[in-house]
């Protein structure tokens, strides 16, 4: 009863192909077929944001998109956030500010925060908080995460 779908797509700039069951989500495909385990499944229902990726530059939950829908798209994951061995300012600031404890929500938050700063380089604290409201963190109380994002934004504005 093979009902597998062939999909060609791009992940972090690299062309990839895979076969997937139509029921498999993009998250399933990234993790189980493409060995990209940076995106996590915290809920499977779009409520926690741990699986955040971008599709054609748009932030989404990869648990809420089918693998089959990735045909012809450009997917961005945490594995592509550091470019050429250089950490993104957000990644450095997260370490510097101790903005992670267990770290399991961190990949999703970094992908989401990067997407925010690409659209809005100078967000207010409130804008950061609402943008990240779909990224649950149970360890930090968000304080250091918000500070790290605001600090990274400031540094990036300075560098720009």
């Amino acid at each position: 009863m093979s009902n597998k779908i062939h999909v060609s797509t791009k992940v972090n700039g690299d062309a990839v192909e895979f076969l997937c069951d139509p029921r498999e989500t993009l998250l399933d495909v990234l993790r189980d077929r493409l060995n990209l385990t940076g995106a996590k499944e915290g809920c499977g229902t779009g409520d926690c944001g741990a699986c955040s990726v971008t599709v054609d530059g748009r932030l989404i939950c990869s648990c809420l998109m089918l693998g089959a829908e990735a045909e012809g798209k450009e997917i961005g994951t945490i594995e592509g956030v550091a470019e050429g061995g250089e950490l993104h300012p957000l990644q450095r600031k997260f370490i510097e500010h101790a903005a992670l404890q267990c770290g399991v929500c961190t990949p999703g938050i970094l992908v989401a925060a990067k997407n925010l700063l690409e659209k809005n380089p100078d967000p207010t604290e409130e804008q950061v908080r609402y943008w990240l409201a779909g990224n649950l963190c149970r360890c930090t109380g968000y304080d250091k995460i918000i500070r790290a994002v605001l600090d990274a934004a400031e540094e990036m504005r300075g560098a720009a």
Binding site: P22, T45, V55, R58, C63, M65, A68, W131
Partner: protein, 286 residues
């Protein structure tokens, strides 16, 4: 499950019409995939309508009205330079659905077709007078949003029918809309109560109004008595009291994990007052 990618709504309707099992249309997928994941629904045929031309378009027509493709995501509505100036309440209501990530995919039509009485965009759609083109095996028809929900999870759509376009009326002058919902947190919750209001003024006096309530009945309600309570008034305290009273009277909610009958009824009145004030201020250009 079979995954289909038809190139036209006629094809989509034909696939749905001839399907023998459970059929779902896929646009943003933010409800369908949750249902699949939670074992609530596993479609036999899943029809992805995003390969159809125009489904991502936002178009303002010559008469000032708007036509939206059915796969336009909430984020695309929010980012549109002028749609939100015409219909801030509708755009804000859509923006309240889920997280930033959900906004990247979720659509007005999906929010409607999920059939939840608590859907945030639906009261705003109803208040705005949004209509939908429904494509079926026998061609197209146009339906008002308030006539589409049939009950929780159910729509007045025939087998093989698929919504193929969204029509938002021309805003016109001296008019404004607003949508407010109550949730226990600041984000990420399903509305415990929602209220959408659209109104038009002549001077300071309200001449037209549509008021709708969400999550207080099996379907989103268009409440005539609420509109009557404020039409012909300047939204003074007496009108606001009458509006709140009419909203409370229209409520027929349930007790569930998200709210009690008493709470929903009380808050429906509170939100109606608050939303009316915002819509009124917007109509005045404030």
């Amino acid at each position: 499950m079979k995954y289909h990618t038809p190139a036209s709504f006629a094809d989509a309707a034909a696939i749905a019409a001839s399907a023998s099992g459970v059929t779902r249309f896929l646009a943003g997928g933010t409800d369908v995939l949750v249902q699949m994941r939670s074992d609530i629904v596993m479609p036999d045929d899943l029809i992805d309508i995003k390969h159809i031309d125009g489904v991502k378009d936002i178009t303002q027509n010559a008469d000032g009205s708007w036509t939206l493709g059915v796969a336009v995501a909430g984020a695309e509505m929010s980012e549109h330079p002028t749609l939100g100036k015409d219909w801030p309440g509708l755009v804000e209501a859509t923006d309240l659905i889920g997280s930033t990530q959900v906004q990247g995919r979720a659509t007005l039509v999906g929010n409607l077709c999920n059939g939840s009485p608590a859907a945030d965009s639906v009261p705003a759609q109803v208040a705005a007078g949004v209509t939908m083109t429904v494509t079926g095996p026998n061609g197209d028809r146009v339906a008002a949003v308030e006539d589409l929900p049939a009950g929780p999870g159910r729509l007045n759509l025939e087998k093989g029918e698929v919504i193929s376009a969204v029509h938002i009326p021309a805003r016109g002058d001296n008019a404004g809309d607003a949508y407010l919902r109550f949730i226990p947190r600041t984000e990420m919750d399903i509305a415990v109560v929602g209220c959408g209001i659209s109104l038009r003024l002549d001077g300071d006096t309200i001449t037209e109004a549509r008021v709708s309530l969400g999550a207080v009945a099996p379907t989103v309600l268009l409440v005539e008595d609420c509109a009557k309570a404020i039409i012909g008034t300047t939204l003074d305290d007496a009108a606001l009291d009458a509006l709140a009273k009419a909203a409370e009277a229209a409520c027929n909610p349930i007790d569930d994990k998200r709210g009690t009958i008493e709470f929903r009824t009380d808050v429906a009145g509170v939100l109606a007052r608050r939303a009316a004030k915002i819509a009124y201020a917007r109509a005045k250009g404030e």
